[in-house]
């Protein structure tokens, strides 16, 4: 959406440039306008870039006896000894690899379920629902994104716990003879994740499907393609940018989250996000936490790069869709 209008605006501006150019925009070109970005550079430089650099340093340090950092005497010798990689090496232990693996497959499962649930819904919204009712139905997909994430997760605690609504229903209908343990399990985490992330899958899919040229579907059918073939060979390929955006939008946050797994999961559902949070809040092992944070960051950037390459041939996928995770919901409101 946003990138579409931006492209149009850019093209229009480019066409008019000669006329505007000779009058010259006072204080416009060059560094002039960019000075407006100075406060942002100042704030984000000081409180975002600098912290990241500091944390990179911390990830190479050693944990002190009381939870701080051990002072490094001879930096050159320290670097030569390779000790600065200790925390990264620690993260390769079987225990932590297991947690990373669990995070990956839980994020993958969440993404797969969101896709399976979200694609037909987005398809119906874009191609079957009459235009005048689309706005409302789309708005209803967006509204949950604006309500508190904590509360939406809590709703599932309320439903799934042993004295919860679902168990109450199961017991009173005689479907179960004693409360089933549902909360604090892996499936509960998956349900919570799918619940939280589903709109982020539906929205970009809808945007892509709504844009596609329906005459192509008709042409395919005219040429003898069956229903399944049309969807598989025309609809899905054309909706690919939206599909990739949705997958990235769901997978990346699922990979790094720790709230859902903390509230709905148990001891066996610790994810990377929980592990990182733990190192800073409980274990007081900042170097290890910092190293894990950078490994997670690297994974996320890698995924985003792959996503941008797959879905964004010439389009600013990273900027307009991933960047506008919340902003996108706003555009559609």
């Amino acid at each position: 959406m946003a990138e579409g209008s931006e492209r149009d605006g850019g093209a229009a501006a480019a066409r008019r440039r000669p006329a505007a150019g000779d009058r010259g925009a006072p204080a416009g070109a060059g560094w002039g306008t960019m000075a407006l970005a100075l406060p942002a550079w100042l704030v984000l430089g000081l409180f975002f870039l600098l912290p990241l650099v500091l944390m990179l340093g911390v990830s190479g340090a050693e944990r002190g006896v009381y939870g701080g950092l051990r002072p490094i005497g001879d930096l050159a010798a320290y670097l030569r000894s390779g000790a600065f990689l200790a925390s990264y090496r620690q993260s390769l232990q079987a225990l932590y690899l297991g947690i990373a693996w669990r995070s990956l497959w839980m994020a993958a499962l969440t993404t797969g379920l969101c896709l399976a649930i979200g694609f037909p819904a987005a398809y119906a919204l874009a191609l079957h629902v009459p235009r005048r009712r689309r706005g409302l139905l789309l708005g209803l997909v967006v509204v949950p994104l604006w309500t508190s994430f904590l509360i939406r997760t809590y709703a599932w605690m309320f439903i799934l716990r042993s004295e919860g609504l679902l168990n109450h229903l199961l017991l009173s209908t005689g479907l179960a003879s004693r409360p089933l343990p549902m909360l604090y399990t892996g499936p509960a985490v998956i349900v919570g994740l799918v619940y939280g992330e589903l709109p982020f899958m539906i929205l970009p899919l809808y945007a892509a499907l709504e844009r596609l040229d329906r005459t192509l579907l008709e042409a395919a059918a005219d040429l003898g393609a069956g229903r399944g073939a049309v969807v598989r060979r025309v609809t899905v390929p054309l909706a690919l940018p939206g599909l990739v955006a949705g997958v990235v939008l769901v997978f990346v946050p699922s990979l790094g989250q720790f709230v859902v797994s903390d509230l709905l999961g148990g001891a066996h559902t610790m994810l990377l996000g929980n592990l990182i949070q733990n190192q800073f809040a409980v274990a007081r092992n900042q170097p290890f936490g910092a190293a894990l944070a950078f490994e997670l960051t690297a994974a996320v950037l890698l995924l985003l790069g792959a996503g941008a390459r797959l879905g964004g041939a010439g389009r600013k996928t990273e900027g307009a869709t991933v960047g506008g995770r919340r902003a996108e919901g706003w555009d559609l409101l």
């Binding site: 229009a12 406060p39 942002a40 809590y154 709703a155 609504l165 960051t297």
Partner: protein, 277 residues
């Protein structure tokens, strides 16, 4: 934006089993809204422990309003959200203006600025929280509402910049040109043309940031010290302690506020020509 409606066409050729799709879509909406509805309904339930319905009551709301710690947390959250919104809206809007004239003036330093603004949105919140905690630790800054405010401003700037920039990109550059042709100086063009046209976008960005700030748990949990409890932090502590009907009441109240905010936002954006949606 979108193509004009097509003339009536022959029945949709790839005829998906429509009934099945419609049922599925209805189920998706049920999935999205049933948990919330249940939460709201049970905030009026008399039962304390069970999920059985034992009659209507407003007593949990009374309990909520008497909870001093909750009220303190709400005050903290409102204060932080208001300040963070004000600061981030100014800084973010300025950044958006720096980036805005898409293609018209190839400004230097645009690409790095774009990346700078994108990074905070892309990186996992855990990473941002951990990085900020590292910084505050290195500076020996006591964790307080001030550190929370700093964190909220940091993650909010990008969202304002993104929303405002999308709005600015949708504006017709002919407007500003016309004003210049009629003799307006750069300042006047900005004050009397660009800013009024961008205002709905700025308001939208501000509202977005306000809700993000009110709702943030992850980053805040890293940088909030003793006595700097915000509403999400307090709610989280309640959730960890166990489910009580009071949480349902708090949730319902929060949902009501959110829905009201959405209604306001919707009105703000609805009559915008050339809106991004």
């Amino acid at each position: 934006m979108t193509r004009p409606p097509r003339p009536p066409r022959p029945p949709h050729p790839p005829r998906w089993p429509r009934a099945l799709l419609a049922t599925h879509t209805a189920a998706v909406y049920l999935f999205l809204y049933l948990p919330i509805a249940v939460l709201v309904a049970f905030s009026f339930n008399r039962a304390r422990q069970t999920a059985a319905w034992e009659g209507f009551t407003l007593s949990w709301y009374g309990e909520m309003l008497r909870d001093e710690r909750l009220l303190g947390a709400v005050r903290n959250s409102l204060l932080i959200a208001a300040l963070a919104t004000a600061l981030a809206t100014v800084v973010g809007t300025m950044a958006a203006l720096a980036l805005a004239p898409a293609g018209s003036r190839p400004a230097r330093g645009r690409r790095p600025t774009e990346v700078l603004l994108l990074l905070p949105v892309i990186l996992p919140e855990v990473v941002m929280g951990a990085a900020l905690l590292t910084l505050f630790g290195a500076w020996r800054m006591r964790l307080s509402l001030v550190t929370v405010l700093v964190a909220h401003v940091v993650f909010s700037i990008s969202y304002v910049a993104l929303v405002v920039r999308a709005r600015l990109a949708g504006l017709d550059p002919a407007m500003a040109e016309a004003a210049r042709d009629l003799g307006a100086g750069a300042g006047e063009v900005f004050r009397r043309v660009t800013l009024p046209l961008a205002l709905p976008g700025i308001a939208a960005g501000a509202l977005l940031v306000f809700t993000l700030s009110i709702d943030d748990y992850v980053v805040t949990s890293f940088v909030a010290g003793v006595g700097a409890t915000t509403l999400p932090l307090y709610v989280y502590s309640l959730l960890k302690a166990g489910v009580t009907p009071e949480i349902n009441a708090v949730s319902t109240a929060l949902l009501a506020v959110t829905v009201a905010l959405i209604a306001v936002a919707h009105r703000l954006l609805r009559h915008e020509p050339g809106s991004a949606g």
